[in-house]
Amino acid sequence: MAAQVETVHTTMKVEKTPSGLSVAWREFRKDKLALGSLIFLILLLSTVYIWSFVLQQDRVTEVDLFAIHQPPSAQYWLGTDVGGRDIFGQLIIGTRNSFTIGLSVTLIISIFGMGLGLIAGYFGGSIDNIIMRFVDFMMILPFLMIVIVFVTIIPNYSVTTFVFIMSAFLWMGKARLIRSKVLAERELDYVQASKTFGTPHYKIIFREVLPNLSSIIVVSFTLSLAGNIGLESGLSYLGFGLPMTSPSLGTLINYASSPDVLQNKWWVWLPASVMILILMLSINFIGQALQRATDARQRKG
């Protein structure tokens, strides 16, 4: 009996496979682009967020008829727009707003989509059926149309309401993704094992299954964050963007729909366009590095 109780130490070490976080970090160190993006993004966003608190939104959005369409100068670093408003200030606040929108929408849809996806995938059967039919139905709703209708109906239209409206129609993809992963995950023995230990369902869902989806959640989170930053620019073009009291990158870019601005007043729209581009790109690069980290197959040698 003693034999199996005693512990034998040997010199041999089992190969230590790195944990998720250190794999991600290693991936970042490998991928200079992603690392650069990460640092850049952190710097950029902290600048923007801090600065935007310093700037007074009221001042920035103040119309000045004597400074319409000024080119960049010492006073107006990036010139002014059609109402004589400072583009630079709007760019800072706009970046903050647009990023906040993108982030909030992504957060909400991730949480909501994840929740439904987890429940549908884990329980399967008729619960899954009901949830997925609901998702199907949401999918056939004409997004643009309903958004426009809501934008018109809702009285106090602001960044917050915008975020909620957008979120209401974007979570379905997430739910599907998570569900499909959970469907695969719940067949794995560790879930079965937990059941045999009498672990309640909610614990299995949140303590067992969810952590195992973390990488895919993170990846899909970053990728949709990149997509959602430019979310309002298309709507702004159609006239359903944010009110001017909340400058956004979309509003700035939309000045370009006037050909005069597009051709002759680059300072109005170009900085915001470039901002969206670099935000999207850097988040994308980060997302890709994370994806590689989660997907060992693609890991760089």
């Binding site: 119309v63 018109t152 005069d260």
Partner: protein
């Protein structure tokens, strides 16, 4: 509204001012081109629009101004007007007013023919009335003075199938009798005939969608429709035996161009003529191949104050003495606080004129030139407020009313690219005199929603910014009478009622008398300030330098048939 109301051709008013004098902006209203016209020229006219044409090419049914712009080329009204918008006898019909000024008799000229060769007859005009007044008719043209034709309401209710007040004496002569001698009789009657034979077999509720309207519209103008590419273009050819003479141009193409490309299209000669908005104007100013012509529009933009409510049961506006804006001094102060000149010159690049009265200059002779309007004067505004008891007692540069917080809610439309800057500027202007003004819901509103709220007297709205097209008839009752739903400020004033009645009384047939009445009325509005006009608009056209005789002067005698080109190809 749209362009249907103004007539393309009329003779120059005697001793009338030239268009330049209608405002201060440096635009001629007619192109200058002394070169010899090319025979059988071809011209492209750009209809600037964010979307396709609706394609309803009949005055009785169309809905948007772009369709009307196209129809100007082939479907004019029977009567021309002068620069005072009074009918003349230069058009397709001559008219006579009866002694009691209740009956107008039209005689259609001999050579006036539909594009299918048939004569335009009196019966065609009757038919037009029969259609717009018909119970099945769903359009909006049955309006204004035309509802005052004797017996037409009865017909409209379907109680009879004859309109009592309209009589045809011979195939070319028609007389229309009104219930009262309204001065609008010489400026506001429906003078678009409708080809009865051509529409034979089409029931009234199906007319708007019929082939006769959409695919093969027939008018009696200088050009006729040859071909339509739905939504995007029309090709027109001249009517050789047009009653005012053979048109100079042989062919005209009307095509839709997006606002974003209007300036570019003009610049590279893709279109010869196109209307321009403010930001394209900026771009086109420098183009060598263009002339810019403009005329002041029959409209004004204003800020209105909500003073009461419309009582639907009693069908009248009722003022509320406790309304936030009830204090005249407050309203005047807010008017003084606005730098209209800067709005017109800076924001609108000189394409607008600071407004002085609620009858725009284009509406002369009724426009009161002596009125100066509220000129920008911050000090005066502040004083008015101080005196009226709006004082800053808390030291935050925001005035309180009798020591209590005072906040005004402002509603505005988001109808063009500059709307936001415009509305924000107004807001700031008021803030500068110490008034706390906020946007309703913190934003501008889309037009439909805006009007819905304003019309429904949304209690949140204190001040609103909107605009009116005044139309050619100077009678402002439609929006100022206390009974009408469109009296958005819900302003009720005895003097106003009196003057409005006077303005359409039989004596008002005398222009002089009427001018006096309306001048007095304009002053009244100015003093009471239930609404304050901010600016008048210019319609600007970019025109290729090869174009000759394109004349946008009100009451001009130069018609579309006179338009010519002096080069074979557009100048680039």
């Amino acid at each position: 509204g749209g362009g249907g109301e103004t007539k393309p051709a009329s003779k120059p008013a005697e001793g009338g001012d030239k268009a330049q004098e209608q405002g201060s902006a440096p635009f001629p209203s007619v192109v200058k081109n002394d070169k010899e016209a090319v025979k059988d020229g071809k011209l492209t006219y750009g209809i600037v629009s964010g979307g396709p044409l609706e394609g309803i090419f009949h005055p009785n049914f169309y809905g948007i101004s772009t369709d009307a712009e196209a129809m100007d080329w082939f479907y004019p009204g029977l009567l021309s007007a002068d620069d005072n918008f009074q009918y003349t006898n230069d058009g397709a019909a001559e008219y006579e007013i009866s002694q009691d000024r209740k009956t107008i008799t039209l005689k259609i000229k001999d050579k006036v023919k539909w594009h299918d060769g048939k004569d335009v007859t009196a019966d065609d005009l009757l038919y037009s009335y029969e259609v717009i007044a018909h119970p099945d008719y769903k359009g909006v043209r049955f309006a204004g003075i035309n509802r005052k034709i004797v017996g037409i309401e009865k017909y409209h209710k379907g109680e009879t199938d004859k309109i009592e007040g309209i009589k045809i004496t011979d195939p070319k002569t028609i007389s229309i009798t009104f219930t009262e001698p309204d001065p609008g009789i010489v400026s506001g009657i429906w003078d678009y005939p409708m080809h009865r034979e051509y529409f034979k077999g089409v029931s009234i509720d199906k007319m708007a969608e019929s082939k006769q309207v959409r695919e093969k519209p027939i008018g009696f103008g200088p050009f006729k429709v040859e071909k339509i590419v739905p939504g995007e273009a029309l090709s027109l050819v001249r009517v050789d035996d047009y009653f005012l003479g053979t048109p100079q141009l042989k062919q005209v193409e009307l095509k839709v161009i997006a606002p974003a490309v209007a300036a570019a299209s003009l610049k590279n000669g893709e279109v010869d003529i196109a209307m321009l908005t403010e930001d394209q104007y900026e771009q086109s100013k420098e183009s060598k191949n263009l002339q810019l012509i403009g005329r002041s529009a029959l409209s004004y933009n204003y800020i209105g104050f909500k003073l009461g409510k419309y009582d639907t049961a009693k069908k009248t506006s009722v003022m509320d003495p406790n309304a936030k804006m009830a204090d005249k001094n407050l309203r005047q102060a807010m008017a003084y606080a606005i730098d209209k000149k800067s709005i017109a010159e800076k924001l609108y690049k000189g394409l607008r004129i600071p407004a002085t009265s609620v009858i725009p200059p284009a509406g002369k002779p009724y426009h009161d030139k002596t009125l100066k309007g509220y000129e920008f004067d911050v000090e005066k505004a502040k004083k008015l407020l101080d005196d009226a008891g709006y004082k800053d007692t808390t030291g935050d540069n925001i005035r309180e009313k009798d020591g209590k917080e005072f906040k005004i809610t402002f509603a505005a439309r988001n109808n063009n690219a500059l709307a936001e800057a415009y509305a924000k500027f107004l807001l700031q202007s008021w803030e500068k005199v110490g008034l706390k003004v906020e946007f309703l819901d913190g934003k501008l509103h889309e037009s439909s929603k805006f009007y819905d709220m304003v019309e429904a007297d949304n209690p949140a709205i204190d001040v609103f910014a909107a605009g009116w097209n005044t139309g050619s008839d100077p009678d402002p009752s439609g929006i100022w009478a206390k009974e009408v739903g469109f009296n958005f400020p819900r302003w009720v004033n005895a003097k106003n009622d009196e003057l409005l009645t006077k303005g359409t009384s039989p004596e008002a047939a005398d222009t002089k008398f009427r001018i006096d009445v309306y001048n007095e009325w304009q002053k009244l509005i100015h003093d009471e300030a239930p609404l304050v006009p901010i600016d008048y608009r210019y319609d600007i056209y970019g025109v290729n330098t090869r174009v000759k005789n394109f004349d946008k002067t009100y009451g001009t005698k130069v018609g579309y048939h006179d338009i010519a080109v002096t080069e074979k190809e557009p100048v680039k």
